[in-house]
């Protein structure tokens, strides 16, 4: 019978929240990449064609790393990529905020309100902290899963 320590509970919860966030972010954008491309263009960092490439690939990358975070064989690579993506998003939102752009985030597809930059940055910083905690935990426990197995006393 498995037993979870409080730390393992936190890591499991963080993993699930991160995974669900990425899946919910990816699916609407896969369904409507043109709207996502328009949101990307609003950041004024890439042109129309560049935004179409990003809108084509990024949602699938989010989907793969979101699911992969729950698969032990690839979760380390997924975790590193998620952390890099979150750093990128924090940088993009900070840049847009500094330039005074009045845009929608595009984070979860279309139909969003104009970006509340402070909230977006704080949210991504929170997710980044959770991701780093999960990566550190996995690095210290490379052979273990979140579910800590009882080891029979010898």
């Amino acid at each position: 019978m498995g037993q979870l320590s409080s730390k393992a509970y936190f890591v499991l919860l963080a993993r699930l929240v991160l995974s669900a966030t990425l899946l919910f972010a990816a699916l609407p954008k896969i369904g409507d990449p043109v709207a996502f491309a328009t949101s990307i263009e609003g950041f004024r960092l890439v042109g129309r064609q560049g935004s179409l490439w990003v809108a084509l690939v990024l949602p699938w990358l989010e989907l793969v790393v979101g699911m992969g975070l729950l698969i032990p064989q690839i979760r380390r690579g997924c975790g590193i990529l998620i952390a890099l993506l979150l750093l990128l998003f924090i940088g993009l939102h900070t840049s847009a905020w500094m330039r005074g752009l009045d845009i929608s985030c595009g984070c979860f597809g279309q139909g969003e309100e104009p970006a509340n930059y402070l909230w977006l940055i704080l949210r991504n910083v929170g997710l980044l902290i959770a991701m780093i905690a999960v990566l550190i935990h996995d690095g210290r426990n490379p052979q273990r899963r979140c579910l800590k197995e009882d080891v029979p006393a010898s």
């Binding site: 328009t38 129309r48 490439w53």
Partner: protein, 136 residues
């Protein structure tokens, strides 16, 4: 090396997903430059300018929602609609962007064409994608 294999697998799966989107027509081909007809402007470019928005959709569509500060323009009541537009444009000359309901509605291009004749000094565009582009 194991981490490189993980990255490779993740990128490969993402590429397969992207190819799936292209194959099913969910996403446009990114390497094909989107066509912009003469006199059209894309939403992102129009938003970068301080423009006069001109809504040429039916009045009930205008009343149920329109771009903030957009003027309603009834093509059937051309003279009075033009007077309203001229008032706004003369008080503060700015580019004028005409929009209708969707990509293929045609009204905005027609009205923009007529307005270019009526206001030869004005910079007039029709919005690519129309109201749908804004609503999305």
């Amino acid at each position: 090396m194991a981490i490189l294999r993980e990255f490779f697998l993740i990128l490969l799966l993402s590429a397969v997903g992207a190819a799936f989107s292209l194959y099913h027509g969910w996403a446009p081909l990114p390497w094909v430059e989107p066509k912009l007809a003469a006199g059209e402007i894309r939403l992102v470019d129009a938003q970068a300018l301080d423009v006069i928005w001109l809504d040429t959709r039916p009045v009930d569509a205008f009343e149920s929602g329109h771009i903030p500060d957009a003027l309603f323009f009834d093509e059937a009541d051309w003279d009075s609609s033009l007077m309203g537009l001229m008032e706004a444009w003369l008080s503060e000359p700015r580019p004028i962007v005409v929009y209708c309901g969707s990509e293929n509605c045609g009204t905005s291009q027609r009205v923009a064409g007529r307005l270019r004749g009526a206001l030869p000094d004005a910079e007039i565009y029709s919005l690519k994608g129309g109201w749908d582009a804004w609503a999305n």
